[in-house]
């Protein structure tokens, strides 16, 4: 079997040599060798599974949870049910608040790093990245230890005499937001840092020379020029925030359902793979729309700069 496939790989490029087509294509073998591994990887583990998900999303659920191979669009129509639309809406709101909070907290932070002396910059960036070395599930459990009724924060506050009764910090929407913001914060800071660092300082000096107050210069110069960073940071936070099902499960006590939990349940408890697949496809389409908007903004932005 192995022999067959290697043989196929070895012989196929020769068979489809350009001579056959009679046109002047000359295959760049260097390019072929360098991009093959990545492309094969992507096709095998991304494109094929995606096609499978798309295929299953148009099938029906078997009585015992299997897949019945009859075509239906019912799975997509079911999503239009107010119940599921509402869950989608909740997810979007949660992800939106997370993104906004990350932006408000992350912008000054990224600005600080980008404007600090060069020798500190690496260390500061390093500190942002270090938590990534630990599994995010483990970090979420650390938050639980901090926030729970007899946890570190409550015990400390009681010890200091600031509160008499422990605060309910865990198992509510606030806790879910803390978890999401904490987990996704670096995804906001890194692209923001990238675009703030590239910002030409002389433009700000020019603005100030022309009589702009610092806040005017910020609004009219800094903000528009760092817009690509803001948008890509927001996307990098918003999209994963829709799908991080384990944070509502662990920190929200599984009381808040976001679209990620709904999809998980279709595969694990409802045994409804077709509906789960359809929900995944809907989520992917939403993501693609957002990325398309990003590309528009990024291009518009570039044109804008050229106009200047």
């Amino acid at each position: 079997m192995k022999d067959q496939s290697t043989a196929a790989v070895m012989s196929n490029p020769n068979q489809s040599e350009p001579k056959k087509t009679g046109k002047k294509f000359k295959i760049n073998t260097g390019l072929l060798w360098t991009i093959s591994p990545a492309t094969i990887w992507l096709v095998l583990f991304l494109v094929v599974p995606l096609i499978l998900v798309l295929f299953v999303s148009f099938m029906s659920r078997g009585t015992y949870g299997g897949i019945e191979y009859t075509f239906t669009i019912e799975n997509y129509l079911r999503f239009l049910d107010p119940l599921y639309l509402n869950i989608m809406w909740t997810s979007v709101v949660m992800a939106g608040i997370t993104t906004l909070a990350c932006l408000i907290l992350g912008y000054p932070f990224a600005y600080l790093i980008a404007r600090s002396p060069v020798q500190y910059r690496t260390i500061l960036l390093f500190l942002v990245i270090v938590p990534f070395w630990t599994n995010s599930l483990v970090r979420t459990y650390a938050w639980i230890v901090l926030l729970r009724t007899e946890g570190v924060i409550n015990n400390l506050l009681i010890y200091l005499g600031w509160i008499q009764e422990p605060l309910q910090l865990l198992y509510n929407d606030g806790a879910v937001l803390i978890g999401l913001i904490y987990t996704l914060f670096p995804f906001m800071v890194l692209p923001l840092y990238g675009s703030i660092e590239k910002l030409d300082k002389s433009l700000l000096e020019a603005a100030s020379d022309l009589g702009a107050k610092p806040w005017q210069a910020f609004l009219k110069v800094t903000l528009p020029l760092t817009m690509p960073g803001i948008v890509s940071g927001s996307l990098l936070v918003f999209i994963p925030a829709l799908g991080l099902f384990f944070i509502p499960d662990l920190m929200g006590g599984a009381k808040t359902m976001i679209i990620g939990n709904l999809i998980k349940n279709q595969f694990l408890t409802a045994r409804d793979w077709p509906f789960g697949s359809a929900l995944s496809i809907v989520l992917m389409i939403l993501t693609l729309i957002l990325i398309a908007i990003y590309v528009r903004i990024a291009e518009g932005d570039r044109r804008g700069i050229h106009d200047i």
């Binding site: 079997m1 067959q4 496939s5 196929a8 790989v9 196929n12 490029p13 489809s16 294509f25 000359k26 295959i27 760049n28 390019l31 072929l32 991009i35 093959s36 492309t39 094969i40 096709v43 095998l44 494109v47 094929v48 659920r61 009585t63 015992y64 949870g65 299997g66 119940l83 599921y84 509402n86 869950i87 909740t90 729970r148 009724t149 007899e150 309910q168 865990l170 198992y171 929407d173 499960d249 929200g252 006590g253 599984a254 009381k255 808040t256 359902m257 939990n261 709904l262 349940n265 279709q266 595969f267 694990l268 408890t269 409802a270 045994r271 409804d272």
Partner: protein
């Protein structure tokens, strides 16, 4: 243009490889089984000394497997799963050479209906006599033609006596306002909705949409008291006094009691949800005789007791219970009347979708 062409070529090649891979494995499997853990060279009179076991994770001590290999000379290949659904999906796609699986009762029912199980030759399982009568002849498999009990358990209410100053007898007491935001419940739709159904006087295995909806409405009333849904480790919240009581798995409650003596077990008067896992031989198992030897081995009192020492689930093996130390036996024993009135969750077929929808509605109303 050149680039596009190269990329296309690579894509075609990789698809070709994928297809070649599929075709190859089809030829390799003796019965078109797909990827097999270890296939025998077919046509032998004598079975080769191999056994492929598919079991839940954290359910069988390595020591027991080693002993089986030593005594019989049969090599055990051991794979694990973490839900009935996972096991079922894998076997449904065509048995990949497994000789033993361990489904819960309601999946035994499904697998019998779907013709996915081999009949077990009871002459080869003399140790079946060690199993208590009450665990045999379940509705799912009335004559135990296809399945042999392995372990069992129950979902119960655990109460922290130090934090609760009134008596809790069942689900109805959980609605007490004193429990506001201080219950942990397992994230199991069938157990929770089952409890509500029984409380309302219906059957926990109801397939009637109106009844399930009514149970859902009832569960919504309980939401203000529920602090968290947690199936992974509800004992943590009980032990750390994060909650005053909870609907949890029996084994979780037993472990919580070891760490926090204030915790007590209550068998809810309306509904004790029971489960029982069973050893079965999937259809097309390549080593059926070895599988029967293995089942007989597991039912041996000394072996079954060893399993219970490590994983304290309910043990249906009456002889094994006698060999256990007093404290472990006590922690896994359930009063006879509770076993009597306990109910098994059954497969509800198409109604599974209704349960999921109602469950989603309940969760969605929490905000």
């Amino acid at each position: 243009m050149k680039k596009t062409f190269s990329i296309l070529l690579v894509m075609v090649l990789s698809l070709g490889m994928l297809l070649a891979g599929c075709g190859g494995s089809d030829n390799a499997g003796t019965n078109g089984n797909g990827e097999a853990p270890e296939q025998e060279s077919s046509g032998n009179q004598e079975e080769e000394k191999v056994l492929n076991v598919f079991n839940w994770s954290e359910y069988l001590p390595q020591e027991v497997i080693d002993q089986f290999e030593q005594e019989t000379g049969i090599k055990v290949n051991y794979d694990t799963y973490s839900s009935n659904e996972e096991m079922f999906a894998k076997l449904q796609a065509g048995n990949a050479g497994y000789d033993i699986a361990v489904p819960s009762l309601y999946f035994v029912e499904v697998m019998v209906k779907e013709g996915m199980l081999e009949k077990i030759n009871k002459d080869n399982i003399p140790n079946l006599k060690n199993i208590g009568d009450e665990f045999l002849g379940r509705d799912a498999d009335p004559n135990n033609d296809y399945s042999v009990p392995y372990m069992w358990g129950k979902d119960i209410i655990a109460v922290n006596k130090e934090l609760v100053d009134f008596e809790v007898k069942g689900y109805k007491d959980l609605f007490n306002p004193a429990f506001e935001n201080s219950l942990v419940v397992i994230d199991e739709p069938r157990t929770l909705l089952g409890g509500m159904l029984e409380m309302l006087g219906y059957d926990a295995n109801s397939t009637n949409e109106d009844e399930i909806r009514e149970a859902g409405e009832k569960l919504k009333e309980l939401l203000p008291n529920i602090k968290a849904f947690d199936s992974d480790s509800p004992k943590t919240m009980l032990v750390s006094n994060e909650v005053k009581a909870g609907v949890v798995y029996g084994a979780e409650a037993a472990l919580a009691m070891r760490e926090n003596p204030a915790i007590e077990i209550v068998y809810p008067e309306e509904f004790v949800s029971l489960w029982q896992d069973n050893l079965v031989i999937p259809k097309g198992a390549p080593h059926k005789e070895n599988a029967e030897k293995f089942i007989n081995f597991i039912l041996r009192p000394d072996i079954s007791a060893k399993i219970s020492m490590e994983y304290p689930y309910g043990n249906p093996n009456v002889e094994a219970l006698k060999e256990l130390p007093e404290d472990i036996r006590y922690s896994i024993t359930v009063p006879a009347d509770v076993v009597e009135r306990g109910k098994f969750i059954k497969d509800v077929g198409e109604a599974t979708v209704i349960y999921d929808r109602v469950w989603t509605e309940v969760k969605n109303s929490a905000q």
